[in-house]
Symmetry: C2
Subunit: 192 residues, 2 copies
């Protein structure tokens, strides 16, 4: 159950078996069917979610109620609303499962306990954030500076497994254009 996350943790810092066990003890394990929400707009995000198995996504609604997906999370990824979780304020995002999934939940209180008892985790979370931020900067750059075709090609190269697992209109909403246009981009690409 905790093998994956313990490997993840170990890649981010040096921890004793006892510290790892303490961390694991704070996590809540859940099995969740496809198409269920773990967070809705307006709620407080009280968990950082580690994906053991399955696939989730987070998304906003724009003012015409179109979905804009912020992130996909598959095995060995974390997903949450960082702003809501840390600042203890209502979320603007939705998080839902796209497949039947197994997740580990780290609550706000559990994380506080963890950081108080094992300060080394402070560093781990900082490193996670740094990587996350670098990725997001790259994505912003791609969003601003490239065409739809380039965005799509970059996506399938970066995340080759995701197009096989999720419906294409989710990918369109991640890349920032309409599902119809993604379809047209794909037919243009296949004609070469």
């Amino acid at each position: 159950m905790f093998d994956n996350i313990n490997q993840y943790t170990t890649r981010c810092g040096k921890f004793s078996d006892e510290e790892l066990a303490y961390f694991d003890g704070l996590l809540i394990s859940k099995s969740i069917p496809k198409k269920t929400f773990l967070l809705k707009e307006g709620e407080l995000c009280n968990y950082e979610i580690y994906v053991n198995k399955g696939c989730l996504r987070s998304y906003f609604l724009d003012k015409e109620a179109n979905e804009v997906t912020l992130q996909f999370a598959i095995e060995d990824w974390w997903i949450s609303d960082i702003a809501s979780f840390n600042e203890r304020k209502p979320s603007h995002l939705f998080i839902e499962t796209l497949e039947d999934s197994e997740v580990l939940l780290l609550s706000y209180e559990a994380k506080e306990k963890l950081l108080a008892r094992v300060p080394g985790f402070e560093r781990m979370f900082r490193l996670m954030l740094q990587r996350h931020l670098s990725k997001l900067q790259e994505r912003l750059f791609l969003t601003i500076a490239t065409t739809a075709t380039e965005k799509y090609l970059d996506f399938i190269e970066r995340y080759p497994t995701i197009p096989q697992r999720v419906a294409q209109h989710y990918i369109a909403s991640y890349l920032g254009f309409s599902p119809e246009f993604l379809s047209k981009v794909r037919t243009r690409l296949s004609k070469k």
Copy 2:
């Protein structure tokens, strides 16, 4: 010299006078004229830059050599290439002063020393990253989900002092459209 940054630090955590003084002692103070580079593409980013006075920006070049500005930094902001700084790899961005500026530089080695000696700063940097990440998510959302007019109105509301200080084509390159189009947006807005 260190008043501003010490206030900044104090807002992020509890530190003794001695700890603050140790931090200040690690910083390098510099005065830098307008239009000079602190970082160029291909170089290693060896400093996190705190702005005491003045205005800087960071930007990428896209493949047609158009500038895409990632961030403006005025008084009491930090700016750097987080990916390059932390992963010790060549940067993809440029950082330059837009006005004559006074900055405080924190080198990679100094930051390591700081974190080793005063672990409480680990938390401060984590909180900085969290806020930064939340902002960047909002910006990605705006970039994907709003029109040029909305982006511009949001920008001048969010950062009301910046348009008075920097040339408009920098703002266009931050918002992700051409300077000509920003001009047209502005004339349309003023006709109402």
